[in-house]
Every structure is written in structure tokens, then in C-alpha cells.
Amino acid sequence: MSGNNTWDTVDRRTVLRAAGAAGIGGLAGCLGGGGDEGGANDLTVGVATSLSGPFSVFGQAALDGAMLAVEDLEEELGVSITVEDGDTQLDPQTGVSQLQRMVTEAEADFTMGAVSSSAAQAMASWANENEVIYMPTGAHGDGLTGAACGPYSFRPTASNSMLAASIGAEMAESADSWYLLYSDYAWGDTAQSAVSRILEEQGKEVVGRSATPFPADDYSPYLNEADNSDADGIGMLIAGLDLRKASNQLVSQGMQGDYTLAMHQLEDAVFWGLDRESAGILDSAGQVWGPAVDTDASVDFCERVAESSNTDPYVRHFLGYLSMDQAVRAAVRADSTNADDMRGALEGHEVSSMAADIKGGDSGMYWREGDHQLIQPTYTVEAMDVETMSEDPYKRWFQTVNTFDGDDVARPVSETGCSM
């Protein structure tokens, strides 16, 4: 995979194989083992994420973002970081195998990655069992900081329930009855229950819901169901680029004007495939981060991404950056890559690095001890006017409407179902 990166990373595996093939051999003993207590100057980080398949755009962007963090961290902290990457596809089992390979063979000190919440959940339970620090970089399913939480997994992005709480007020205001379409796996399932909970808390009704397979080609039977449900609004809780497909089919069935449409987790990249006029198809949308955040650090980061990555900056680049930043700093703070030491350095830690500046919002972010959720600000966004959308040096199509404090949108630990 390293061939696809803009950065010239030579992983240890390659070096070893090359050495072996050239007849030199005997390098195996020289490199430090994983999970050492002594020092954190030479770090090997395993990044296992979706580099092929429906989520490959997301996974590659996260990896690109992580490589930017490596650049910054090596310069600032004087550590040397080797990134061992691997492809999880969409598959929990492949994800687990990748983590196992990284830790046993490449001797990765700690790990991160995954886009799909199902894969992330399997990887987290492996990491917790095997005493390896793991950050599910891009997985938003509530289970990771709920029933499936564990001592060594730390989730850097916002959870579904945090994002749902962010758009809850807007949804309740715009329609009284809702139909929810949701991707049929861990992410969609918890999104669906988070959104339902938020709506019902405000006295609104969810009149029906359909679980749609992911990925799918044909959303029209589900759209027909929504169309016949007497709902005023449709929650489009559909993962990845499929949201675009579903939206296209919704438009071509003539349903666009009849409903309020909402999605708790908007990713800019999903909309770049639509024409600019259609980018505003969602009436309410939540967001973890995006080029809509206009702090200086954020604009700088976007420009760096625009230069170095194949895709324009969006949330996945930031999540990759954030994961690498937080994991490496924890190892350096603990001066150890031992899982328990790193855990101690993360729990309760308030983020003060560049990552916090890029994230924006005023409320700050910290690692909550009870469920290992990174409590952080969330946003609601809307499409800009077509004339004001910018393309150069990177696409900026959305602007923030509201910013929420992390503590206001996150459920208390007691309600998450997490016990460690």
C-alpha cells in the first residue's frame, strides 16, 4: 500500500523481506518489541483501515491525515514513527487479522483505524483482550463507547448519539413525524436508535423505519415505504457514498419537495459527486468537523491536505490526524508504549495540541474516563449559496450553523451501557 501514499514510507516488513532476499538476514532481533515500558522514541504504529471497497475513499483520507500528523510529531517531539498500514476492507475478521499481523509480526506498539463500526467493534474487542491500545479512527457507532467499550480502546471521533443530539432540536422544529432509513449494521443501527430517542424526548413521533442493506444499489423499495408512511420528515441515516445514491433515487422518484430530510453525520466528500444545486438536499445535518470550520489552524490544515492528499480536505483527514496525534502524544507523555501506561496518560487528558486548534469550537476536548469517548464540540452545517461555494485550493461547500459543547450532546456515562 505504501506505493499509494504521497509519503515515502518503507515499512519494516519490506525492509526485512528485502534483506532476507538479498541474503543479508538477521535483522529480526534488532528492533524493539511492542508494549515496552522503556521509552517511546522509536514508535511503530499499526493503521488498519478500509483501503479497498466502498469505504476506501474514507480510509485513504484518514491514512493521509495520519501521515500529516506523523510529520508534525516527528518534528515537534523528536520521535521517529514507522507506520505499518493494512487494508481491512469492510470486514471485521480481516480487521482483526490485520491488527494481529501488525502487533505480532511488525511489532506495532499501538494501533488505530477502521471506518465501519462493525469492523471497529471487532478490532476493539481484540485489542482489549490482547492489551493493545486501539483507536477506532472513523467509527461512530455507539457500541464502541457503550456495551462494547474496553480498557484499551479509545474513540477519537464523536459518537452517533452526540451527533444525533446536535441535530435533534432542528429536526423537532421542522417536522412532527419522521421515517428513518438506516444502513443495516452497527453504525446505522445505533444512529437510528439515537435519533429516535432524541425525537421522542422532544415529543415527536417516528412512524416507521427501514433497515437498508449496506452497500446497496436499489433504495427505491425503501423510499416507497417512507413515501407511504404519512411522515413529514425522512432521516437518511445511510452510510458512505450510498447516501448520494439514495438521494439521487429520492429525487428521481419526485419525493424531494415533499419531505424534510435530515442526517446526523454529514461528510463533505459524499456531496462532491452531486451538482452544486443538489448539495443542499439535507435540511438538517450534523458534523464532526469539515472545511466549514474556519479557524486559522483549520484553514492551514485544509491547505496542507489539499497539497498532499488525493481528495480535498474533509472530516476523514482530520480524524486520521487526530488519532495519530493523540496516540503518539500519550505514548510520549507516558514515556512508554505499555498499554496500561498509555491508558493512564489518556484517561481524563485534556487535548491541547494542534488537533484541538484544528477542531475549533470553544469548549475544548478531553478523554472521558468512564467510556473512553473523546468529548468534543459538534456542529450543524448547511450548504452555502451556490455562488459562494469555493473550489480552490479546496472545495468548501458547507458552512456551520451551530456549535455545540461536547458535554451538552454526550450522554452521561451511566446511560452509555459501558462498564470497564
Binding site: 506505493g3 516488513r13 519490506t14 526485512l16 523481506r17 528485502a18 534483506a19 532476507g20 532476499a21 538479498a22 541474503g23 538476514g25 529480526a28 511492542g34 508494549g35 470486514d91 471485521p92 475478521q93 480481516t94 482483526v96 487479522s97 491488527l99 494481529q100 499481523r101 502487533v103 505480532t104 509480526e105 462493525s118 467493534q121 471487532a122 474487542s125 481484540w126 483482550e129 490482547n130 492489551e131 493493545v132 457500541g143 462494547a148 443495516d184 449494521y185 452497527a186 443501527d189
Partner: protein, 370 residues
């Protein structure tokens, strides 16, 4: 040669006896050699340099050999064998974790439940399908496997975990895992996971071997070769095929239950048609006519996948060639090899060629020696 034996010299006689013993027990000896050589070979830095795959490969060999009992010996091509692997995997995972109010079971009991379920499904499905004509049999098994995968995805009674699979608390008490190293703890003894899998591998493969060389196994071959003739000879062909299906399903589930520990849980992807397809590919690649065919097929397939996927630079001393771009597409080359094998002789596979080649070599060497 005949002249030599006639003279009745002592050392030659002993050699002959050793050779006939070896010939008679070549399968057990071969299996032990597989176990002893597999891990050192693949973990050699020149090859994979990564030993955790070795246990996984052994488990797959059991599974594909079980599949081949049905295809190679009984002539029935199942395109849905992943479901049987899945029954073993899910039963073991659900039983050990005791999720969703399921009774928490010791691993052997949970595995036995999975094997029983697989055997029952195999038996019933066999009753309905074995006489349907081979293409129809293939599609019926495929359809049923799709139905099983779909059911697991719907998470009935919260047992199967939907697309998450079952991944929490799935390691039985006697298995410990630290930073990716699995160890079996047995009455105070720590045994490497590989040796545990090896034991299961040897027991299962020897059992399969006994089955194929028993009168039952020979009847299967007779039915495959000429069903009408077999029927005329008074063999109840349907019953034999159903029994073969049942046994194959049971051994597949056994492999599945061990694979559950090896892969830390049960995953829905294991149930997919891709797994079933890979199974067919591996068996045919190795050679479905031979007991060692699946062993060879699984080894070549898994090894190629791991090796070529990661192979990046070829150093020839004087020059280096970057092959990473080409070799990540190992499936193309494996597919090509597969097509050639099928077109030339669909049942021989790699093992068949290897055998012929070794035999030729032997004859030639002997010729030179005389």
C-alpha cells in the same frame, strides 16, 4: 528390479519392507510432515516471515478436505459450504460467550452443538437435494447458504450479532491471548496454539482418511464414476450421498469451531458466497481426486495470497525489481493457473501434476541407477 528381490539379500528386503510400510501409511506420515514443516517453512524470513498464518492454514485444510469428501469423492459440488463452517463458528462463539441469554457452554460442548446442527442441516438438505443433478445441486446449496447468511445478518433473538458477528468474550477459558499470541493452558501446561490446532488437524484428517479408504468411501467413488452401475449393483446411491453430505458438514463445522478461536470470534463474512467460492477454488486448485489435493490447494492459495500481496522488491544481487504493483494482483495469476488446470484436466490439480512429476522422476532415477 525383479532380479534384485529374487536374490533375497537382507538389506534390500528390509528396505522393501520399510518402503511398503511407508507406502501403506504414506497419508499419516504425510500429514505429520505437513504439521512439522508448515510453520518453519512459512515463517522463514525468505518466505512469509509470519507464523500466525500457519494455524489458520491448517484449519482451512481440514475444512477444504471436508468439502472435498463431498465433491472429490461423492461428485457433488456444493456452492454453499461456508454455511457449515459458519454453524461451527457461530455455535462455538455463541456458546462460549453466552450472549443474549444463551447458556454459557464449555468450548467442546459448544463445538459439539455446532457440529450437530451442521450434520442435521447437512442430512436434511442432502435428503432434498442430492439427486437433483449437479448444477441444480450447486445452486440449491448456494441458495440455502444465502438464506443462512441472511438469517445471521438479521440477528435472530440477538444471538448472531448481525453484521458485527460475535466478537466479545469468545475465547474459552483454556485459551489465553496476549498481544496477538494465542496459548492453550491445559492443567498448568502452556501449549502453543499451533500445536493444539495441529492435534485437531491430525485427528480430523486421519478420520477423513479412514472414511475415504473404507468400503463406504469406495462406494462413493463407484457412485461418482457410474451411478447407474452402482445402483444396478444394489447400492442405495441416495443414502450414500446423503451420508457423505452429513459427514462433510460435520467436519466443516469442526473446522469452523476451531477457526472461531483462531480468528477471535464469528463473522458474517465467513458465511458469504465468497467463502464458499474460495473453498471450491482451493479444492480444485489442489486436485479433487486426491486426499492431499485440498492440502496442496489451501497451502498454495493462502501462501500466494500472503506472500505475493506483501512482496514488494525483488533483489537479484546486481539489480532490484519493484514487483509490488504487479504482484498485489495475485488473484489474476492464481485465476490463470486455475483456468489452465481446469481446461487441461479438471480433477488433477496441482497435486496430480506433482505426483506425476515425482513418479516420472523416480522412474528416471531408477532407470539411471540400473
Amino acid at each position: 528390479m525383479s532380479g534384485e528381490t529374487a536374490t533375497g539379500e537382507g538389506p534390500t528386503e528390509a528396505l522393501d519392507r520399510a518402503r511398503s510400510l511407508l507406502l501403506r501409511y504414506r497419508v499419516p506420515v504425510g500429514l505429520v510432515l505437513v504439521v512439522l514443516l508448515l510453520r518453519p517453512v512459512i515463517s522463514h524470513p525468505l518466505l512469509l516471515g509470519y507464523e500466525a498464518v500457519a494455524a489458520t492454514i491448517l484449519i482451512w485444510m481440514v475444512f477444504v478436505a471436508a468439502f472435498n469428501l463431498l465433491f472429490g469423492y461423492a461428485g457433488l459440488l456444493s456452492f454453499g459450504h461456508a454455511m457449515f463452517l459458519g454453524f461451527g463458528m457461530y455455535a462455538a462463539a455463541i456458546g462460549v460467550s453466552g450472549r443474549a441469554g444463551a447458556p454459557e457452554l464449555p468450548f467442546p460442548v459448544a463445538a459439539a452443538v455446532g457440529i450437530a446442527v451442521a450434520a442435521t442441516v447437512g442430512y436434511l438438505l442432502g435428503r432434498l437435494t442430492v439427486e437433483k443433478g449437479e448444477i441444480y445441486f450447486a445452486f440449491l446449496t448456494l441458495a440455502v447458504a444465502q438464506a443462512v447468511e441472511f438469517t445471521a445478518n438479521r440477528n435472530p433473538l440477538n444471538l448472531t450479532g448481525g453484521s458485527n458477528g460475535v466478537t466479545q468474550n469468545v475465547l474459552p477459558g483454556f485459551v489465553e491471548s496476549t498481544r496477538g499470541q494465542l496459548v492453550v493452558v491445559f492443567t498448568g501446561l502452556e501449549i502453543d496454539w499451533y500445536w493444539f490446532v495441529s492435534a485437531v488437524f491430525l485427528v480430523a484428517m486421519l478420520a477423513l482418511w479412514q472414511i475415504v479408504r473404507s468400503p463406504f468411501g469406495r462406494s462413493l467413488v463407484a457412485i461418482r464414476e457410474n451411478g447407474d452401475l452402482a445402483r444396478a449393483m444394489g447400492i442405495n446411491t441416495t443414502r450414500y450421498k446423503v451420508q457423505a453430505f452429513t459427514i462433510s458438514a460435520a467436519f466443516s463445522a469442526l473446522a469452523g469451531s476451531v477457526l472461531m478461536i483462531d480468528r477471535y470470534g464469528a463473522s458474517q463474512e465467513t458465511l458469504s458466497v465468497i467463502t464458499s467460492g474460495d473453498t471450491v477454488l482451493m479444492a480444485v486448485l489442489g486436485g479433487v481426486r486426491y486426499f492431499f489435493g485440498p492440502v496442496a490447494g489451501v497451502f498454495v492459495w493462502q501462501f500466494t495470497e500472503e506472500f505475493l500481496n506483501e512482496f514488494e522488491v525483488l533483489h537479484l544481487g546486481f539489480t532490484s525489481v519493484d514487483l509490488s504493483g504487479v504482484l498485489t494482483h495475485w488473484q489474476f495469476f492464481l485465476g490463470a493457473l486455475f483456468v489452465v488446470l481446469v481446461v487441461v484436466a479438471p480433477l488433477e490439480g496441482i497435486w496430480g501434476y506433482l505426483r506425476d512429476w515425482v513418479r516420472d522422476l523416480y522412474v528416471r532415477v531408477k532407470g539411471v541407477a540400473e
